[in-house]
């Protein structure tokens, strides 16, 4: 399996080592119907300060990546069966859950899709915000409360002094996600995993939350993995992106390059189905068919039944991630016919 080559994205200098390096990660879920391989040989690097977008349809394994890193895979169904998650010289895939959890919050933090269900309904937001300070740093009640208030103000909750005593259901969706962000960033993690952070929010609020994330990133220099199904949302925020399909990364590269020159038919299809790219009154071009069943993947390339380019080779052989010939390094696609796809772009 080809490794993602670091050092070619325009923003990063070749010298800095990746903060997080996921190598050949393979995850399985045992279900009543059989064993589903949610991730197969997924590899990517994240460097300090950069934003990597992980994109794909629901069920493609995006969230499984986040769960694997944070040791949040549902037990006993889900387990890491191969590969490494290297962080700070440690392989998180091989460590016991409590050891990984020690890094959670302080080194790697996470925010989730639905901020309402992600906040405990029976505790005041102040208590939930203060928890990292009190439980992880052993701070006193008063000091932790002051810190929480500071956080709440930083993420832009108006009237924070009184709102800190409110319960989660008393806030709007956007405010709840701001609170989640405040909570995740409490201990100044070096990496934030945002799993569909704007999916549950109104479109107008989405932009605000994303720009808050961008501001905080500029302020703290943290790295971010932004998981999304919305290519438009990601375009302005991420430097690099990885496109996932049926548990594999099918294309990866700098966001600009990839959006302008998709080298995988799936990426091309995704870009063509974004409404903003279609003129008003025109018709959207959806990707024909639906994502495959992970329990029963088609032979060869998993995308071949939906692919307009598919040949016999695609139905027989799983394509490896590679840089298309005559194309600059750093942009890779798992397609036998990348060169042909690129000329169609």
């Amino acid at each position: 399996m080809t490794k993602t080559q670091p050092g070619t994205a325009p923003s990063a200098s070749p010298t800095d080592a990746p903060l997080l390096s996921v190598q050949d990660l393979t995850v399985e879920f045992s279900t009543a119907a059989g064993v589903a391989r949610a991730l197969r040989n997924v590899s990517f690097d994240v460097r300090a300060g950069e934003t990597l977008a992980v994109l794909g349809e629901s069920g493609c394994g995006k969230s499984t990546i986040a769960q694997s890193i944070m040791a949040l895979l549902p037990k006993p169904a889900g387990s890491i069966v191969g590969g490494k998650i290297l962080y700070g010289g440690r392989d998180l895939a091989a460590e016991r859950i409590p050891a990984v959890r020690e890094l959670c919050g302080t080194e790697i933090a996470m925010i989730f899709q639905d901020p309402l269900s992600s906040l405990n309904p029976v505790f005041r937001v102040g208590a939930q915000l203060a928890e990292p300070f009190r439980r992880r740093l052993g701070m006193g009640r008063r000091e932790a409360w002051a810190k929480s208030l500071e956080l709440l103000k930083r993420v832009g909750i108006p009237d924070a002094e009184t709102r800190i005593r409110d319960y989660p259901h008393q806030f709007s969706g956007g405010q709840r996600q701001r609170i989640m962000i405040a909570m995740a960033l409490a201990l100044k993690p070096k990496l934030l995993i945002a799993d569909e952070p704007t999916t549950a929010l109104d479109v107008t609020i989405q932009k605000q939350v994303l720009s808050l994330l961008a501001d905080l990133q500029a302020e703290t220099g943290m790295a971010m993995i932004l998981i999304s199904h919305d290519l438009g949302v990601v375009a302005d925020v991420a430097t690099r992106a990885a496109i996932m399909y049926a548990g594999r990364i099918v294309e990866t590269g700098a966001v600009r390059d990839m959006y302008d020159h998709p080298a995988h038919p799936y990426t091309k299809g995704l870009l063509e189905s974004i409404p903003s790219q279609t003129s008003i009154g025109g018709r959207l071009k959806p990707i024909v068919g639906s994502p495959p069943n992970l329990l029963d993947l088609p032979s060869g390339c998993a995308f071949n039944p939906r692919c307009p380019f598919a040949t016999d080779l695609c139905r027989e052989q799983v394509p490896a991630l590679r840089t298309p010939t005559t194309w600059p390094a750093g942009h890779e696609a798992a397609c036998h016919l990348s060169e042909e796809v690129l000329t169609h772009a």
Partner: protein, 307 residues
Amino acid sequence: MLGYVIRRLVLAVFVLWGVATAVFAIVRLVPADPALLIAGSDASPEQLATLREKMGLDESIIVQYGKFLGGAMTGDFGDSFQQRVPAMDLIAQVLPNTALLAVLACALALVLSFPLGLLASLRVNGLVDRIVTTGSLFTQALPNFWIGVVLLLVFSRKLKWLPSVGLDSPKNLILPTIVLALPFVSVLTRMIRNGLLEVMGEGYIQTARAKGLLERTVIFPHAIRNAAIPVVTIVGLQFGTLLGGAAVTETVFTFPGIGRLLVLSLQGRDYNVAQACVLVIAAVFVLINLVVDLTYGFLDPRVRLAK
């Protein structure tokens, strides 16, 4: 909040009025003449007539009903036919015993079921889980009186460790407490197990873990506090039921509680005592229900605001 309580109390008055009417009718529908029971079958018709007059049974049903309701409002249910003391005095004597038993049974049930339910939920289908789930089904399937009789046979008759009758020492409380707590433990344990399992799949548990909290902290307080909400309702209702007297268990152990008093008063056609017992039990039940609903709002802030 205050408005809600007042509304509920007004409603309670109507509930109690309904209960009062029903019990008034039912005790009179049961065949057998109370006067005959007290005076004996060899009493002369004149003796019976004077007795009925003394008991107020010579008047029309409507007048009896009016007098009963009027008295009930002031807490006066008349005298016991059998013991010639106010019915309320009899209840005042036994109600604390029943309350003590109810508190003990609930406490024992809570103390046992929380750790059992928690242990079972930690490893679904593990050994502990299997033992707890099967055991709880088993104890729940056993009839109360049967458990009582068996415990009496073993611990009082055979081993002679514990007394069997009455309430002369705290030791008398042990067996009835166990009998009343057992089925309750079964229900609660399974409820806590299932509740925790459900809650552990919630988003906020994932958040708590992502914060790097110890699994201990994730469960307590994050999961427990949420899983406890439905448990409070059940405990409250069960406590209300137990306060109403466990007639069967109190009878098996000849325990001087309100349940046994009710059974005896019905057997003796002691209308006034039976009516008083039922009304007191109903009032306690309604009150506990109100308390449970208020506690619910305290445990779940979302309910608090909905009112």
